[in-house]
Amino acid sequence: MVVRRPVVVMELPEQIGTSQVPEILEDVRTLLEFQRPRIVFDCSLVRSIDSAGVEMLLYCLDESMKRDGDLKLAGVSPQARMILEIMRVDGVFEVFETAGEAVRSFNVPTLAAIPEDAFLYDSASEDLENVRRAS
C-alpha cells in the first residue's frame, strides 16, 4: 500500500539570510524526517534572499529528493526570481504562482499550512506519528 503524504505548505519569512537560515532549517528538518516528503515553500512574503538562503533552498530540495519526495516554490516575487536566475538555480525548482497551485501539482488532497506552533508541537505529533506508523 502506498501512503500518500499530505502536502505541507511552509510560509517563509520576509528575509532569508545567514541569520534566518538556522531557524528555518530547524522547522524543515522535522518535515524531512519522513519518507516521500511533499513540501511547498510559500515565498509570497520573501523580500530578501541571499546566497545562504538559496543554499538552504537547495539543501531542502536535495534532502526531499533523497527521500523520494519533492519541494516546490510558490509566490516567488520577481526580485527573488531574479536572484535565483543570477545564481543559476531558477531551473532547479518548480515554481508556481500560488501555494494552492503548487499543492495541486502534487495531485494529493491539501492541508492548510501548518501554523508554527502546531508544527513542532504536541497537537501535530500524534498525526505525524500516525503517518510514520502507516509508512
Partner: protein, 339 residues
C-alpha cells in the same frame, strides 16, 4: 565652455575661428561615468576638439569638483578647469564676457549629460545666419542642453538664463549621433554602439583580438572566454571559466570571479561579480543591479554576489571617477538644468 582655435584670428565664418564653448558638468553624476574606459567628459572634450573647437573651459559645481575628470590622461589636454561655488549661470555669463573681450564672438555652451557627436560647424553657421543671441540644438526627441551663444550679446550685460531659455525659439535640428543617457538602458546602448562601430567612441585599451579591447593591466585568465565584441577595462580581472559575451563591457577596476557569465551586461567601474553567477541583460554598479530585461532594480546586499570591488578613493594614483558608490542617482534621468 569649449573654445576653438586662436581667439585673435577672426577671419572667416568657420567655427574654428572666434568660436569658443563651455562644458558644464551637470549636477547628475552621469558626467563622472566611464564608458569603455573613458570618462564621458573626456569623450565630450575629444569630440569638440575634433570639431575644431577650442579653447575649452570646464565649469564644475563645487560638489563635483573633487572628482577626477579623467582629463589628465588626455593627450594635448588644454582644458581650463573652473570650480564654481556660486550660481553656475552667473559663471557662464562671466565667461562669455571674458570671451567677448578676448575676441571670441561665438561660444558653444554644453551642459554635460548626453553623449553627442554632432557637426557643430554647421550649427554655428546656422546660428550666425539667424542673428539671434542664442541658438539651442535639438534632435527628434526634443531640445538638447547645447546652446550656441553670441558673446557680444552677453558682454553687453544680457541675462544669461533668460537668453538661454528663450533660445528655445531658435532651434537647430542637429544631425549626428546623440545618446541622452537619461536611463541606464541608454548607457548600455552607448556601449553596444561603440563596440559595434555605430558611433565614434572607441574603447581605451589595446585591441588584443579583432573586436576585443583590453585596458592596461587587465588580467584575463587563459581559461576564460571573451567573445567579440567586448571590452575589459584597466586593471580588471576575469577569472577562470568566465564567459564574457554579447557586447558585454567590464569597466575599469572590476573583478569577475570564477565561472561567472556576463551576457549583454555593462559592469560599471569598481564592481565585483561573485563565483558561478549568470548575469544577463543588465547594468551593474557595485551592489546595484538593473535588469534591462525585467526593467527592475535590485539592491543586493550579499557581498558574495555583487559588490564594490575596492574601497572608494583607495587608489589615489588613478582613481576611477565612478569608483565612489553611486546610489540611486545613477539610475535616475538626467536632472534638468538648474535654472
Amino acid at each position: 565652455m569649449v573654445g576653438t582655435g586662436d581667439p585673435a584670428d577672426r577671419t572667416g565664418d568657420s567655427c574654428s575661428t572666434g568660436c569658443a564653448g563651455e562644458v558644464l558638468r551637470g549636477g547628475s553624476q552621469l558626467a563622472a561615468l566611464e564608458v569603455l574606459g573613458r570618462s564621458l567628459l573626456e569623450a565630450a572634450v575629444e569630440n569638440l576638439r575634433m570639431a575644431g573647437i577650442g579653447p575649452i573651459s570646464l565649469l564644475t559645481p563645487g560638489s563635483l569638483a573633487n572628482q577626477d575628470s579623467g582629463l589628465r590622461d588626455s593627450p594635448g589636454s588644454a582644458v581650463e578647469s573652473i570650480r564654481v561655488e556660486e550660481d553656475v549661470v552667473d559663471s557662464i555669463g562671466l565667461k562669455l564676457k571674458d570671451h567677448a573681450k578676448s575676441g571670441i564672438d561665438t561660444t558653444v555652451v554644453i551642459r554635460l549629460g548626453a553623449y553627442i557627436e554632432i557637426d557643430l560647424t554647421e550649427a554655428v553657421q546656422f546660428h550666425r545666419e539667424q542673428g539671434q543671441p542664442a541658438t539651442r540644438l535639438t534632435d527628434a526627441d526634443g531640445p538638447l542642453d547645447i546652446w550656441i551663444a553670441d558673446t557680444s550679446h552677453f558682454a553687453a550685460g544680457a541675462d544669461v538664463l533668460s537668453s538661454l531659455q528663450s533660445a528655445g525659439q531658435n532651434c537647430y535640428a542637429a544631425p549626428g549621433y546623440i545618446n541622452r543617457l537619461a536611463h541606464p538602458r541608454d548607457l548600455r546602448h552607448l556601449a553596444v554602439d561603440a563596440l559595434t562601430g555605430r558611433c565614434r567612441l572607441r574603447p581605451r585599451g589595446s585591441e588584443v583580438q579583432p573586436g576585443i579591447w583590453v585596458g592596461e593591466g587587465a588580467q584575463v585568465h587563459r581559461g576564460a572566454r571573451v567573445v567579440a565584441p567586448a571590452f575589459i577595462g584597466r586593471t580588471s580581472i576575469i577569472g577562470e571559466d568566465c564567459v564574457i559575451a554579447d557586447c558585454s563591457v567590464v569597466e575599469n577596476d572590476c573583478e569577475i570571479d570564477y565561472g561567472s557569465t556576463l551576457s549583454d551586461v555593462s559592469l560599471l567601474p569598481n564592481s565585483y561579480v561573485g563565483i558561478g553567477l549568470d548575469l544577463r541583460h543588465s547594468v551593474v554598479s557595485g551592489g546595484t543591479l538593473l535588469s534591462l530585461e525585467h526593467d527592475m532594480t535590485l539592491e543586493i546586499s550579499d557581498p558574495g554576489v555583487v559588490r564594490f570591488n575596492k574601497a572608494p578613493h583607495k587608489d589615489v594614483g588613478r582613481q576611477s571617477p565612478a569608483a565612489v558608490e553611486v546610489p540611486g542617482m545613477l539610475f535616475t534621468p538626467a536632472e534638468e538644468a538648474a535654472n
